[in-house]
């Protein structure tokens, strides 16, 4: 460099513009192209000085020296260093020099681009006018003539080391300003002041200390001086006003121009000078920031300390935020979350959120937010915060499972969730439809074809299908047009002077700037298909498998997969194992991955298998169920060709988890030969019922994360079950950046959510918009038709009354439980006995189904419940059991054979005589469970038993209500079973239940001892089934209960009633389950009832062959019951669906339903048998259940 040469030349041409010193590039021709409209105008009018970019600044320094003004600035020279930005190519300096020599007479240009490295920056971009603001400065000089209103000023930053003052001679055109010994000869007066540019330049790496002024380094650090266009120092900017500019100037992100607005005619030290400062973003600002950014991996966030780069970025972000606020730059487009944040006053939120964390533990991200644009904190303040905020990486581990109550979605938020879904769905009904290839046999509905379009686009990376939305963390701004100097300044609305064609984007979280549109795109391929239950997600996914058969070849496939690998340290192992495997096993086929892996609950595996084969042209797509003990080598399996070719592997979550453990154990061993599912690169991984991995710390979730595949799909009707964090796990599986990083997700979703920041839900919405497709049955297509036209569903809530003995037992049980709970609660031990309390509740819920269930000891929990119930009730121990035993006693030897034959004959005769009356004299309904009194009067079992009980209560003799004979004892009752006859509609003959013809009037009656071992619900069910049988001899019905022991009782009752049943529960093997479902689906000539345990069969199964559903008990979470109902009410159902929910009046069930409806916190895993968290809230609910905190008298319907 030879700075001295150029100054001379420039001096020789006094009118040369500052641009001399800021040659745009090595080619003079580029001057035109580089300047933006604004800058051109600027240059032409030459009324203002431009800020010097680094290279210019170098020259500037030369220039100044050339003026021979070293005298004036001698003192400064020593502490001002010309530093060319580190990144600046030397060549540009050289070029600058030469051009400066060559082009003194050119119109001035903006600071030239100093870096050529960034690809994202259009080559013609030099800088952009951001806006202006008024700033106060203080005079450091005394005397006249330094400046007048309108004078241009040059801003400069002192640098250590060598002096580099860039002060340029103002625009020559502007006026023949001459300085003579510090006096301005004359400024041209008309236009604004003189132009002076100063490039502040500092390599961004370190802010050097100013050595010259040792006393107050910190203050010196903040000083921005300004000079007039002749190079005389006038003063400095107010620290409080301008400190945020320092960092930006130092890092060369902005350049400034300014002129004096007002100043005293004669300056005195400390006099106030009002300045107008125009701010330009330089090219440098948009260059890719070199940092170990989050895109490089989660490690960034977990580092213990801020790196220098991070600190620089943080300062930059803070400073830019302040600058934007100061100038009043408003985003053209921001996302709702940022807006919401601003509306709420981010500062407030942030302060609050900070208080949630002890100092030193504040997550850095939180701090980041605290310095958002509108916040007026100084950068030094920011710095301080930054230091305290150094993230302790250990926090995360603690945070992980601290899922406290606040994280859960409350009522409103759940509703909000619906809105989120809805917004994310906007416009989805205008998606194009894609037809599946003809190897796919099913006909897709329009909305399914739309899903196919979307899924295909997600897989192939076509992002045009949905409008691209701005990346949630970015804001869109536009540069402004500068008004021409000399023209009257019109007071305009901000919007009017922005230049919409020149946009830029800012990320207020990271401080990054960009000229290109940052989309919320991610590299991940796939997404979440979250259509409501029964919309045919399986079907849609199958069509996708047909559509996209081949992935990219291995080479191409590596980016999507290896990148995440590098991002997560643990994934390195995957690569490692690949290397291991490469040697010993057969070389992996180089062909593109084509296999799809489907992971689903075990109960659905065979359904996937069957559905896939049904939907596919034979031989076009074959699936293989890979689970159980005899799992074959995946590689071998998939390398088969021809008939044995396998396209889809279906496995269960359980299998995967065990495979994962095995693989984890073995993979590092030298002898490891691969062949695990983890060693294969799948084309596509599909998680069915993906909420199975909602707990990100669970083994199964980890097992799913580690799978290797190009495309990842999560199918779930409920991607968010209870808390927003549920979503995280899915995103992590999808490798959706940046949300797939826990700390990131936590910072932007979980933590704001904890602070009740609505932004959290907005973020979720944005995430969902990018990767989730959800339609509901009630949605309409673009023509306004329902997208799914399901038959009507009728839900009847049957409120039943306990029989007397049942109520006695129940009351007894409830009283004890209540007492026990109150006692525990009063002693403050409710929490520690939480499990026991739950067990007590369980007892109550069982008792509502059937008193006998109370005696069951299926689990340890039950025993605890037993103990609790027994304990503390003194002599009542066993009383309850006795009661139940008594209740059961009547049924001990129920057997028709034992009835005296003579008696039976007599009875039959009597009955035959009174055949006509079938109405019970007590309930006035048709007799149900007919029993016979010794006097041959008959009634419903319930009614008679109830009557006898009432008499006992009133100490009356229980005589026959009709003939007053008696007393009647329970044991005297005899049950009467008639083979029902009905008229065959076609032939007109009577047939009985076996379908055998009977002649009219032929009766088949059996007499037996009364089976008292029944329950209200059981009898109601049987009664209902019997009446259904009369209407439809081949109905199919589902009966759900959460207690398999109750299913046992239902079984035997149905058997007795002669109703055919099948059973489906968790104890059955996969094969058994498949057989059962198949059998149920067959056409039978009689009614079939499928007894299903709610937990085992509540999800996924497709049982549309049935159209009646009975819910025998209530579950805490209504959604689960809904799921169960949707087994039947889903695509493929073409009959009306009838749902009956049985509730017993005046029991816990009523309150459970209340809670269900209020959707409060109880809808969580803890009461559902899951983790032990959230006890506090649950406890409140338990109180509700015991009726301890509410007025029970109202709403007595149940």
């Amino acid at each position: 460099m030879s700075p001295n040469s150029s100054p001379k030349s420039s001096r020789s041409r006094p009118r040369s513009e500052p641009d001399l010193f800021f040659p745009v590039s090595d080619s003079e021709d580029e001057n035109e192209s580089i300047g933006t409209a604004a800058t051109l105008r600027y240059g032409q009018t030459e009324t203002q000085a431009t800020v010097a970019p680094p290279d210019g600044s170098v020259k500037g320094s030369g220039h100044r020296q050339s003026n021979g003004d070293s005298l004036f600035f001698a003192s400064q020279n020593s502490d001002i260093t010309p530093i060319s930005p580190k990144l600046e190519p030397k060549s540009s300096l050289g070029a600058g020099l030469s051009s400066s020599d060559a082009g003194p007479s050119r119109p001035s240009k903006r600071p030239s681009p100093t870096r050529s490295s960034s690809s994202a920056i259009p080559s013609d971009f030099s800088n952009g006018y951001l806006g202006e603001f008024v700033c106060e400065g203080w005079s450091l000089s005394k005397g006249k003539g330094y400046c007048v209103p309108g004078s241009k000023v040059v801003f400069e930053r002192p640098k250590p080391a060598k002096a580099v003052e860039e002060v340029y001679k103002g625009g020559q055109n502007a006026g023949p300003t001459r300085l003579v010994n510090g006096k301005v000869v004359k400024a041209k007066g008309n236009a604004g002041g003189k132009q002076v540019t100063l490039g502040a330049m500092m390599a961004k790496k370190a802010a050097p200390l100013v050595t010259k002024k040792p006393p107050a380094k910190a203050i010196v650090d903040q000083i921005i001086r300004f000079r007039n266009d002749r190079g005389f120092e006038i003063g400095r900017l107010s620290v409080t006003e301008a400190s945020f500019l320092v960092h930006l100037l130092d890092t060369n992100i902005i350049s400034l121009r300014g002129h004096v607005i007002d100043c005293p005619p004669i300056l005195s030290t400390g006099a106030t000078i009002l300045l107008n400062v125009k701010v330009y973003l330089t090219r440098t600002a948009f260059e890719k920031v070199e940092k170990e950014g989050r895109e490089e991996g989660g490690t960034f966030w977990q580092e213990q300390k801020e790196t220098i780069e991070e600190e620089a970025m943080r300062k930059r972000k803070d400073a830019l935020g302040l600058l934007f606020g100061r100038i009043g730059v408003k985003p053209l487009q921001s996302n709702a979350l940022l807006l919401a944040q601003k509306q709420n006053g981010s500062a407030v939120i942030n302060e609050k959120s900070l208080q949630h964390f002890p100092s030193g533990r504040t997550p850095k991200d939180l701090t980041r937010r605290s310095q958002s644009p509108s916040k007026g904190s100084t950068s030094s303040g920011g710095k301080g915060k930054g230091k305290t905020s150094v993230r302790n990486s250990d926090d995360e581990a603690e945070d992980e499972d601290s899922g406290d109550e606040a994280e859960k979605l409350n009522d409103d938020q759940l509703n909000e969730l619906d809105n989120i879904y809805r917004k994310a769905q906007q416009g989805d009904n205008r998606l194009e439809e894609t037809n599946p290839p003809n190897t796919f046999l099913y006909t897709l509905r329009p909305y399914q074809k739309q899903a196919l379009t979307w899924m295909n686009a997600r897989e192939t990376g076509d992002t045009s299908v949905r409008d691209q939305s701005l990346h949630p963390l970015w804001e869109e701004y536009a540069f402004r047009k500068e008004h021409n100097e000399g023209q009257p300044i019109e007071v305009e609305d901000d919007d009017d002077i922005i230049d919409p064609s020149r946009k830029f984007y800012w990320n207020p979280y990271s401080g990054e700037l960009s000229l290109t549109f940052p989309t919320s795109n991610t590299r991940s391929k796939g997404g979440i298909l979250a259509d409501a239950m029964g919309m045919g997600k399986t079907c849609m996914m199958a069509s996708l498998m047909h559509l996209n058969r081949e992935g990219e070849a291995d080479g191409a496939s590596s980016p999507p997969d290896t990148e995440p690998v590098s991002k997560r340290p643990k994934f390195v192992q995957v690569t490692l194992s690949n290397q291991w495997r490469a040697v010993p096993t057969a070389p992996k086929p180089v062909s593109a991955p084509r296999a799809t892996l489907v992971v689903c609950p075990v109960s659905l595996a065979s359904q996937w298998h069957e559905e896939l084969s049904k939907m596919s042209v034979k031989g076009s797509l074959s699936s293989y169920m890979w689970y159980g003990n005899d799992r074959v080598d995946i590689e071998r399996l998939l390398s088969q060709e021809g008939k044995k070719r396998v396209d889809v592997i279906i496995t269960s979550y359980g299998t995967l988890a065990s495979e994962f453990q095995k693989w984890n154990k073995n993979k590092e061993k030298p002898g490891y030969e691969g062949g695990s599912v983890y060693d294969h690169d799948f084309l596509r991984i599909v998680l069915d019922e993906a909420h199975n991995i909602k707990n990100r710390t669970a083994l199964i979730s980890k097992a799913c994360y580690e799978l290797k595949g190009q495309r990842r799909w999560a199918l779930s009707g409920t991607p968010i079950v209870n808390r927003l964090d549920d979503l995280y796990s899915l995103l992590h599986f999808l490798r959706l950046e940046p949300w797939g990083h826990y700390s990131f997700f936590r910072s932007f979703v979980t933590v704001p959510f904890l602070n009740q920041d609505p932004k959290a839900l907005n973020v979720v919405q944005y995430i969902l918009e990018s990767c989730l497709l959800r339609r509901e049955k009630t949605m309409r297509d673009k023509d306004g038709r329902l997208i799914v036209d399901l038959p009507k569903k009728t839900v009847a809530l049957e409120v039943l009354d306990f029989s007397r003995p049942e109520r006695q037992i129940y009351k007894h049980l409830e009283d004890r439980a209540k007492r026990r709970f109150i006692q525990l609660d009063a002693e403050g031990r409710a929490m520690s006995n939480y499990t026991s309390i739950l067990a007590m509740l369980m007892k109550l819920r069982q008792c509502v189904d059937h008193p006998l269930l109370v005696l069951g000891k299926a689990s340890a929990e039950d025993e605890m419940g037993d103990r609790l119930l027994d304990a503390g009730s003194g002599d009542e121990i066993g009383n309850l059991k006795d009661m139940v035993a008594l209740y059961a006693g009547g049924g001990k030897d129920v057997d028709t054979v034992e009835v005296d034959k003579a008696y039976a004959a007599q009875v039959l005769k009597e009955i035959g005589e009174s055949e006509g009356t079938t109405e019970c004299f007590i309930c006035a309904s048709e007799i149900f469970d007919e029993v016979l009194l010794p006097c041959y009067h008959r009634g419903c079992q319930d009614c008679i038993v109830n009557y006898i009980g009432t008499c006992e209560d009133q100490n009356k003799v229980a005589n026959c209500p009709i003939c007053n004979q008696g007393p009647v004892k329970m044991t005297d009752l005899r049950s009467v079973q008639r083979r029902r006859k009905r008229i065959n509609q076609i032939t007109g003959t009577y047939i009985d239940d076996d379908g055998k013809p009977h002649t009219a009037g032929d009766t088949a009656v059996t007499i037996g001892k009364v089976d008292l071992v029944s329950s209200t619900k059981l009898r109601a069910l049987v009664r209902k089934l019997e009446s259904m049988r009369l209407e439809d001899g081949e109905f199919k019905a589902l009966v759900f209960s959460q207690f398999t022991s109750f299913l046992d009782l239902i079984e035997s009752t149905l058997t007795k009633a002669g109703i055919r049943w099948l059973r489906f529960d968790g104890s059955m093997s996969q094969a058994q389950r498949a057989t059962t479902v198949e059998e149920f689906g067959k056409k039978h000539k009689e009614p079939v009832v499928l007894l299903i345990s709610l937990k085992a069969g509540g999800v996924g199964l497709n049982l549309t062959m049935a159209n009646h559903v009975f819910m025998m008990d209530t579950w805490w979470n209504e959604a689960i019951e809904q799921q169960a109902i949707d087994r039947v009410h889903r695509l493929g159902q073409n009959r009306e669906v009838f749902v009956t929910r049985y509730i017993i009046k005046g029991t816990v069930e009523k309150r459970i339903i209340k809670i269900q409806r209020s959707k409060t916190a109880l809808v969580n895993a803890s009461l559902a048998g899951g983790a032990q968290r959230d006890k506090q809230a649950s406890l409140a609910d338990i109180k509700k259940i015991f009726g301890l905190d509410e007025d029970d008298s109202e709403d007595e319907v149940y």
Partner: protein, 148 residues
Amino acid sequence: MSLPKRILKETERLMADSPPGITAAPKDDNLRHFDVTVAGPGQSPYEGGIFKLELFLPEEYPMNPPKVRFLTRIYHPNIDKLGRICLDILKDKWSPALQIRTVLLSIQALLGAPNPDDPLANDVAQHWKENEKAAIETAREWTRKYAN
């Protein structure tokens, strides 16, 4: 609160086919609460009178008897000034096989056959025993006076 089927059926039948001289209709606001009228049986001091009663079916009905009370003043040894009725089937002899209809018929019968030996209104019963004729006359007078 839903009404048991039995009550519905009984009401239906009462409305459709009421026993002679008896009407009963549930109130609009409470279907367990009936407005009843009973005509005084012929050959009795209550002949020509229309007596108003109220009848209420308790929650436990039909396990427990209905509650019935005269609203019209009546001079009768088994009915007190408050209208309460002394009738065994309304007390311990109640049977769930009985119905509203049978209860009202029994009450009508009671008007035709006063039983001063099991009195509720002691002064009336006394009067009845001492001077049956005068008592019956008083009953007639009351009927004319109140039960029209």
